[in-house]
Amino acid sequence: MNNLDPHCQAILEEYRQAKPACDDAAVKVKATLEKVFKKSGLIVAAIESRVKTEESLAGKLELKGSKYASLADITDIVGVRVITFYIDDVDKVASAVERLFKVDWENSVDKRKIHEIDSFGYMSLHYICSMDGFPYRFEIQMRTVLQHAWANMNHDTGYKSGVEIPLEYRRSLSRLSGLLELADEQFSEIRADLADYRRRIQALVASGNLSEVPLDGDSFRSFLNTRPFDPLNRRIASMNQAEIQEVSLMGYLEVFKMLQCKTLGDIAKIIKDNSEGAFQLACYQIGLTDLDIISSSLGPQDLCIAYIVKVGGGKAGLKMLLDIINGVSDTNVMMAEILFEQTSNLPFMNQ
């Protein structure tokens, strides 16, 4: 710092005066972005903000202080970095930044586009911005997690610029950048393909072509949205004018997979063929009690019990069911025995 000329010392003094305002600005920009992303449902990996340290600024001024007339000429005193999961989201973030702040296009750089078609390297979008109430410009960097990883590792080599790195290693880093660029594109494609798949599945579920829909997390969720267990739950609840407590039924995906269901059509068939048995079991268990609250998982639970006993799954099958829905426990053996005895003698078993 002692090496700085009076001009640079003046800029440094201006920095000291401006530091509290810069701290506030960094917090404000970050909070503004967080709020907008949350509102729009955009999930990012991280938002980082920082104000350049006095030591770092002094180093910069020592190297090229004459380039700056005042602190206002230095555009990265305040820096914010948005790290996205997907490459498409970098453009979404950029769009949000353009709406929220005034972008100095002349000084902003899209480092994703500066590479020749046959070269790879640092990929990031840098916007120089300004906002009302803050007299200095600030920088917002936007990049993916993979671009961020590459930039950090490249920086960690200890070389201040790419050209300083020995050619052999520069080639390796460049090759890695290309690989990560490909991975970024693949992740985005997978996300787009999965979104298409979900739309297709939802359309098939809505059209009722359940036997064409393979059973997986997405399809089961869509199926649950059609509320397939409501008629059975309502029928059971009506016995005691019981209140139905809604709970997530996603845990039953594993149960139906255990029962060898391959498609939603297989589940629909279990519901159709075993609802009467499930109702009879519920009648036996709570019909003569004053219990007037049930969980919405009771319908699928009794349905699976009725199905397992009907197809000869026995106590072992019931134990497996209980292990999945209630967690593995020794008491499930005893409960399976009780349920087996209760269910085996119900009328539906002889129909």
Partner: protein, 104 residues
């Protein structure tokens, strides 16, 4: 019906003894309010000496579960008798709670 709440480390343990039926449910609900108020912690409902539970009792358990879900806590139902386990099973409540036995 007796309710005794103790604190072990940061866990709140409610020991329930007797019959949790409609007649005592309001009083028990008030006694268990500290669990709802501290639902960001692990809450243990020790049912070793609980003899009976009615729908009103299930609703109290459910209220505590909802509070814990909202505040990031956890509810453990401990040592329920076979009869009460069956009540939980026949209402579909068994898989809503982490039910543990001190014997296991």
């Amino acid at each position: 019906m007796e309710v005794k709440i103790t604190e072990q480390d940061k866990t709140l343990v409610a020991q329930l003894a007797g019959r949790l039926d409609t007649a005592v449910s309001q009083e028990v609900s008030a006694q268990l309010q500290p669990l709802v108020d501290n639902a960001d912690r692990t809450l243990i409902l020790d049912c070793k000496d609980l003899e009976y539970i009615s729908s009103s009792g299930l609703r109290i358990f459910l209220t505590i579960r909802k509070a814990a879900a909202a505040k990031g806590g956890k509810v453990i139902v401990k040592d329920i008798s076979t009869e009460i386990r069956q009540v939980f099973m026949m209402t579909g409540f068994l898989n809503l709670f982490e039910v543990v036995s001190s014997a296991e």
